[in-house]
Amino acid sequence: STIVLVFEAPREFEFSIKANEKVKVGQRLGDV
């Protein structure tokens, strides 16, 4: 199963994840 998030955010938005990283519910994905 796969989930895709597509969203509009301020340009300053930065991901705080890496590709192939394991994530859990509630974990930070990014912030402005």
Partner: protein, 390 residues
């Protein structure tokens, strides 16, 4: 020969009407079959091998087995084996007594203990346990290439630029080439889908699921309210008849739109903003419920009928940049299941029977949930639903 040609008497016989009717039926059948013929597999040998496997039927059998009720004495043993094989952490599940899970499907849809997943204060949090396959920004008509796979999200914005030439890559070539078509879209779960269809101009009768509609690709998508995020579960290529995939797109909005600038691609993006995406893959051993990634209001849902397939990151990595491949062959299909959304009891995915015509979807709006907010409000990490087995 001459004598035979000239001396043989000619007799006329009436041809039975049935022969003519049968001939017309055969011609029509062949024409219809040609129109809906299955896509041709093309590409490296891995594609042919995987394409030859009866993955769809195997998935159905696997899905059926997952819903069988297991004997109580077997459940603890069987689930522990499953947990060991797929890396499930049994210490964090809500029901620690494994006998309470009657089938593998129920175990698959297990809940976690309260507090097992602390929620970060960030504006965007992960909606599910899994692995980040890709993430990045939408640059122009394409998603910034990440980990070797290129997307095009031009169709997300629902605007077809005047004079834009149609796709020049034939379906049979897609699986060997990166994205080139402006009307193509994100490669999700290995399946192409157009987000124009997901967030585009489809209209619906408020507060009730609609009959399948075909959105117009030429109608520009206006962000009538600011779209903060969409959750899309798998998808289907709506420009080609490819492997079916169920997708449920949730469109939300938070504020009324302000004056928006238009990019050169006709996208309506607020000044100072940009489009971002991330793809999260849920492995078989992962907690399979999904939660809200942010504080938002879900306004509508679109359901593209199909079947669920799974594409593992291993397969995705082996076939980097084979854009379109995943849209043609269900790679690594492991199960058949359905999608549940807690606040949408009408949603029924993975139903048997005649599928709706390609490129159509059913839509539901959630304005009844909160007339003031015009949708279903959700808090960060609030449970939304999940992926069910069986």
């Amino acid at each position: 020969v001459i004598n035979a040609w000239t001396q043989t008497p000619t007799k006329w016989y009436p041809i039975p009407i049935a022969v003519g009717a049968i001939l017309l039926v055969v011609i029509q059948y062949r024409r219809t079959r040609r129109a809906y013929s299955s896509p041709q597999v093309d590409g490296p040998w891995q594609v042919h091998v995987l394409g030859a496997l009866p993955l769809r039927n195997m998935s159905r059998v696997w899905g059926y087995l997952n819903s069988l009720e297991l004997p109580p004495w077997f459940r603890p043993f069987g689930f522990r084996v499953y947990a060991f094989a797929f890396g499930c952490n049994l210490d964090e599940i809500d029901e620690e007594d494994l006998k309470t899970y009657k089938s593998l499907g129920e175990f698959f849809y297990r809940k976690l203990k309260e507090g097992a997943r602390p929620v970060d204060n960030a504006v965007l949090v992960s909606p599910a346990d899994g692995r980040i396959l890709h993430f990045g920004t939408v640059q122009g008509s394409r998603v910034e290439q990440v980990k070797g796979i290129t997307y095009s999200l031009d169709a997300l914005l629902g605007v077809e630029r005047p004079g834009t030439p149609p796709a020049s890559i034939a379906p049979s070539q897609r699986d060997a080439m990166p994205v080139v078509d402006d009307q193509e879209f994100a490669n999700v779960n290995g399946i192409e889908y157009t987000l124009d269809q997901l967030l585009g101009s489809g209209t619906s009768t408020p507060s009730s699921p609609t009959t399948p509609t075909t959105p117009s690709p030429n109608h520009p998508h206006k962000f009538g309210s600011q779209v903060d995020a969409s959750v899309v579960e798998s998808s289907r290529d709506l420009q080609e008849t490819l492997a079916h995939d169920t997708s449920v797109a949730l469109e939300i909005g938070m504020k009324p739109s302000l004056e928006r600038s238009k990019s050169i691609y006709g996208a309506s993006v607020k000044t100072g903003n940009a489009l971002f995406f991330t793809v999260i893959y849920l492995a078989p051993g992962d907690y399979h419920r999904f939660h809200s990634p942010t504080a938002w209001v879900v306004q509508k849902r679109r359901h593209f009928v199909g079947e669920l397939f799974s594409v593992s990151p291993y397969i995705a990595k082996r076939l980097e940049n084979l854009y379109g491949f995943f849209g043609m062959v269900p790679v690594g299909a492991t199960n058949v299941g359905s999608i549940k959304i807690n606040f949408d009891q009408a949603l029924r995915t993975n139903e048997r029977g005649r599928p709706p015509p390609p490129g159509t979807y059913s839509e539901a709006v959630y304005s009844a949930a909160s007339p003031i907010l015009n949708g279903q409000p959700l808090l960060p990490a609030q449970e939304m639903g999940g992926f069910c087995l069986g």
